[in-house]
Symmetry: C2
Subunit: 507 residues, 2 copies
C-alpha cells in the first residue's frame, strides 16, 4: 500500500480501486480522476473505467465484478459490485511469487536462547503447566511464591508463569477436542521460551499427564517435572513440593545465555482482534510486509483464524507451494463448515451491515483484509491447531478467530513472537511468547498509547509508506526477540490469556 | 444406609442386596446368610433368594433383574443380573414421599447477610466480573490491589474476588451457548454473597455488558458498576479506575452485618467429583440425608450433572412434584442426547470396566449412586444451567458433570453453599459460595486431611450410621453458612475455579 494521494490509499499497483481515507465530496481529485459523488470514509473509488462484468481488483486480487459500467471516479460498492461464488474451482500453486531470499551471509540476527535441541527461544521462563482446571489454584500458588526479591537472583530467568485453563476433564478421551488439548499441552511443555517446566495435575482427570508424556516421548529430568495432587496428598503439600521443584530449577534455568541467532529462527504468530474498517488497509498489510521481510530472511509467519479467511481460501490455495498443502487448507474449510453446522451456527463471513457501512463490499474483500497479515509469499505449510509448525516461510494454522484461543494455538505450534493488529483497541498480551500490538488508526493509538507498540494509522495520517511501516514492525520484532520489552510485557499481561480451544461437548 | 454387619452395608431396608465393605471369603456370615463364594470389596451379596426374573433392589430402587436364580449369600453382579431398558415408560409423580417439615417455630437458623431484595448471603464479597477473557488481566490486577492491610479495615468484607474465564467472544450472539453465559453473568452479578460488583469488559466482545444489564434490568449504583477497557482507554487506566471504584465500595459493603436467618434460606449445590466405588455407598447417601434434613427445614438442594443421572432419570420423574417438572427433566435428557451426538460423542453412562471391577453392575446402579446426593424428597423444580432456582426443596439444574463448570452453574443459579463428595480426592473450592468436601473413604480422608471437611468413610470404618453422618454434614453446612471457614477456604481456593460451561462452536 502507498498513500496514493492526500485523500486515498492504494493497496497494489494493479488495483483499479483505491480507498478514501476521509469522506470526500463529489468533485475531489483522486489519482488523476475526480469523484463523481460523495465517497464515505473507508470506501472505494474507481481509478479507471470498469465495464460491466469486468473484475474489481484490490490487494492485486479479484474482490468482485462490476454489475454495471463503472466510470472513473465513481463510488465502488454494493450498488455496482457483485460477488460470484468461485469455490467450485480451486486452483493450486498458480500464483506463486518467488521469494527474494537475503543471502545467508547478509542475514539479520537477534539475541536468542539456543536450546539443546537446536530450537531458539526469545524468552526464558519457567512454566507451571496444568492438565485440568482442578490443579489451577495449586499452579497459581506455586508460581506466585516466587517474588521479585528471589527472582532478582536469577536475572536470566524471565519469570515463573502458571498456565491455567478451564478444561482437561468432562470431555471425550479421544477425538478432535482431546487431540487439540494434548497438542497444546505438548507445545507449551516443549516451547523454546521455557527453560524449565513443572506439570501439575489432579490425578483422575481425562487429560492425564502420564499419557501425554508417553504419547510424545517426553523424558522427566531436572528441568522437566510432573506431579499430581492426589499422589502428593492434597493442595498444601502439592504447593510446597511444587515450590521446591521450581526452586531447584531456577539456578539451572538461569545458566541460559542469549547469543546471536539468525532471524530465520523467528516464528511470528500473525493475529488480529477487535478489527475495524482500517485493519485491512493499514495494520494488516503492514504486518504482511513485515512477514515478507521475515520470510526473505528464512523466518516463519503463522497465519491462523480460519473463519476469518473463509471466502478467500481459493486465493490462498493459489499461493500453496504444492497441491498437498492446498488440499489441507481446503480440508480445514470443510471441517469448519461441518463444525459450525453441527453447532447450529454457520461460517458466514460476509460483511455485516457495519462492515458495509465501513466500506467493505464483498466477503472476498473482507477475508483478503484479514489474510493480508500473511503477506505475499508462497504458503509453505498448513497445520492443525497447536501442531508443531515445521515448514519455514509463510504458513497457516487452523484456529478460531477468538484471540486468546487462536494465539494459544500459535504459541503451542512454536511461535516465539506474536504480532497483533487491532482497530478497536485490545489489551492482549501473551506468555511465553511476547506480543507486540499494532494499531490500525492514529486515534486509537493515541488514546491507548500504553498498550500499542506500533501506529499503522500513520500510514493514513502521516503519509508513512507500507514499506516503511512493514520495516518498522520487522525491526521491532527483532528487538523484542532480543529482549526488549513490548508494551504488553511492560504492563504485566500474559498470565491469564492461556485459553486452549475447546472443541466438542463438555460432559 | 446402615452398616448392617461388620462386613457389609445396606442402603435401604427394602433392598435384597447389601454391599461388602471388604473382600469376603466364601463362608462369611452376612446379615444372617453366608457368602457362597469370594465377594470382592464393594460388590453385592444377596440377602434373600432372588428367583430368575425378579427385581434386584438397592437404594430401595430396581437396579436390574436376576438373569438366573440367585441363592442367599450369592455374589450379585453381571453374571446373574440383567438390565432392561425402561425409558419408554416414564411415570410422573408416582413415587412422592411426603416431607416431614419441621414446624416453622422450631426451625434452625444460621447467621447470614440479608440483602435488600430479601435474599440471604453466606459470605460478603466484592466481585470483579469479566465479560470476556480480554479483560481477565485487568480484573485480576484490580482484585489483587487489595492486600491484607487494606482489607483489615473492612472486617465484614470477605475479599475482593476476580471472576475470570476463557470465553465471551468468538461465539454466536444467540442460542444455547450465549444464553447460558448470560445467565451465569447475571447469576454472579446478583448473587447474595456479593456485597458489591464491578463488571469489566473490553468493549467489542460478543458478550456485551450493556446488553446484559439491559436484558436483566440491572441498575448501576454505588455497589454496582461497569466499565470497558476501550472506553477507559487502555489497561493501566482501567486498572486504576477499577481500583478506585472498588475502593469506594468497600466502606459501603462493610456495613453489612450477619443476622439470624432461617435454614430455609440455604440453597446447597450437591456435587461430586473424582468419584470412586464408595461414592454411591457412603458420601452421596450421607449428603442425600443432609439434603433431606435441609428440605425438612424449608431449604433447597440443587442436584446437577445431567450426564451422571442418565439412565436413572425415570426414577427422578417418579419423584417429580408435577408432570411439568418431570417433562422438563426428560427434555434435558433429550437435549443431551442431541448435544453429545452432534459433538460425535455419546451419553454412555454405563459402568466402565473399572466401575464393574469396583462392584457397579448396571447403569441404573451407577446413576442412582450419583443421584443419591439428592436424598429422597420430591423433585420440586428443574432448571436450565445457571437459571435462578426459585423452588424450595429438592431441585435439579442442568449441567455437565465436570466439576468447575457444574458448580459455576449451581452458584449462578443461586446456591450459597456447595457440598462436594469425592473418592479419589479433589482440591476443589469455590467463591463466592463456600465449599465443603466430603470424603467417601477413610484412607483418602486421612491422606488429604487438609482438604476434606467430612469423612463419610467412617460409615465403613467406624460404624457411623447414615443418619449420624447426614446430620454431621447438615450441621457443618449451618456453621459454614454462618461464617466458619471450610477447609477449601482455609487453603485459599476458589479464585481460579470459575468456569462457565461453553456450549457451541468457538469461532
Ligand atoms: Ca481476527
Ligand atoms: Ca476477530
Ligand atoms: Ca483474532
Ligand atoms: Ca460427578
Ligand atoms: Ca462433578
Amino acid at each position: 500500500m502507498t498513500r496514493s494521494s492526500a485523500v486515498s490509499v492504494r493497496l497494489d499497483a494493479s488495483d483499479n480501486v483505491v480507498t478514501a481515507i476521509r469522506a470526500l465530496e463529489a468533485g475531489t481529485p483522486v489519482e488523476g480522476v475526480v469523484t463523481t459523488t460523495m465517497i464515505p470514509r473507508g470506501h472505494k473509488i474507481a481509478t479507471v473505467a470498469i465495464p460491466q462484468g469486468a473484475v474489481i481488483r484490490k490487494y492485486a486480487q479479484v474482490i468482485g465484478y462490476a454489475s454495471a459500467d463503472i466510470a472513473p471516479g465513481e463510488h465502488v460498492h454494493t450498488q455496482n459490485t457483485e460477488f460470484r461464488n468461485t469455490e467450485a474451482e480451486y486452483e493450486f500453486s498458480t500464483d506463486l511469487r518467488p521469494v527474494a531470499f537475503v543471502p545467508e551471509a547478509g542475514r539479520d540476527t537477534f539475541m536468542g536462547y539456543r536450546r539443546a535441541n537446536g530450537r531458539v527461544g526469545t524468552r526464558n521462563y519457567i512454566a507451571v503447566l496444568t492438565s485440568v482446571n482442578c490443579s489451577a489454584t495449586a499452579a497459581r500458588m506455586i508460581a506466585s511464591a516466587f517474588g521479585p526479591e528471589e527472582m532478582a537472583q536469577y536475572p536470566n530467568v524471565d519469570g515463573v508463569v502458571a498456565f491455567v485453563h478451564g478444561t482437561g476433564c468432562g470431555m471425550a478421551g479421544s477425538g478432535d477436542g482431546f487431540d487439540a488439548l494434548q497438542r497444546v499441552m505438548w507445545g507449551y511443555a516443549r516451547h523454546p521460551n521455557h527453560g524449565g517446566v513443572l506439570m501439575v495435575g489432579l490425578g483422575c482427570e481425562m487429560n492425564q499427564i502420564d499419557w501425554l508424556l508417553e504419547a510424545y516421548g517426553i523424558e522427566k529430568g531436572p528441568l522437566f517435572q510432573a506431579m499430581n495432587i492426589q499422589d502428593v496428598a492434597g493442595l498444601r503439600k502439592t504447593v510446597e513440593l511444587g515450590i521446591e521443584k521450581v526452586r531447584a530449577m531456577l539456578p539451572l534455568a538461569n545458566e541460559a545465555r542469549r547469543e546471536p541467532c539468525p532471524a530465520s529462527e523467528l516464528m511470528v504468530a500473525l493475529q488480529c482482534g477487535g478489527s475495524d474498517a482500517w485493519s485491512g488497509i493499514t495494520a494488516n498489510p503492514a504486518l504482511g510486509q513485515a512477514c515478507d521481510l521475515l520470510v526473505a530472511q528464512g523466518g516463519t509467519g503463522v497465519l491462523a483464524e480460519t473463519p476469518e479467511i473463509y471466502g478467500a481460501e481459493h486465493l490462498l490455495t493459489r499461493r500453496a507451494s504444492d497441491r498437498k498443502t492446498g488440499d489441507k487448507l481446503v480440508g480445514l474449510i470443510r471441517w469448519w463448515e461441518d463444525y459450525t453446522a453441527r453447532n447450529k451456527g454457520s461460517m458466514d463471513n460476509n460483511p455485516s451491515p457495519g462492515n458495509k457501512k465501513g466500506g467493505l463490499t464483498t466477503i472476498l474483500e473482507k477475508s483478503l483484509g484479514a489474510a493480508a497479515k500473511g503477506g505475499t509469499t508462497p504458503l509453505n505449510g498448513v497445520y492443525k491447531y497447536g501442531e508443531p509448525v515445521t515448514a519455514r516461510g509463510f504458513t497457516f494454522m487452523d484456529s478460531p478467530g477468538y484471540d486468546p484461543a487462536s494465539v494459544t494455538g500459535q504459541i503451542a505450534s512454536g511461535c516465539n513472537l506474536v504480532a497483533f493488529t487491532t482497530g478497536r483497541g485490545s489489551a492482549f498480551g501473551s506468555k511465553p511468547a511476547p506480543c507486540i500490538k499494532i494499531a490500525t488508526n492514529s486515534e486509537m493509538y493515541n488514546r491507548m498509547t500504553d498498550d500499542m507498540d506500533v501506529n499503522a494509522g500513520a500510514m493514513l495520517t502521516e503519509g508513512v509508506s507500507l514499506e516503511e511501516k512493514g520495516r518498522e514492525i520487522y525491526e521491532l520484532l527483532l528487538r523484542v526477540a532480543s529482549g526488549e520489552q513490548s508494551k504488553s510485557e511492560a504492563q504485566g499481561l500474559g498470565d491469564f490469556e492461556f485459553v486452549p480451544w475447546q472443541i466438542g461437548a463438555t460432559m
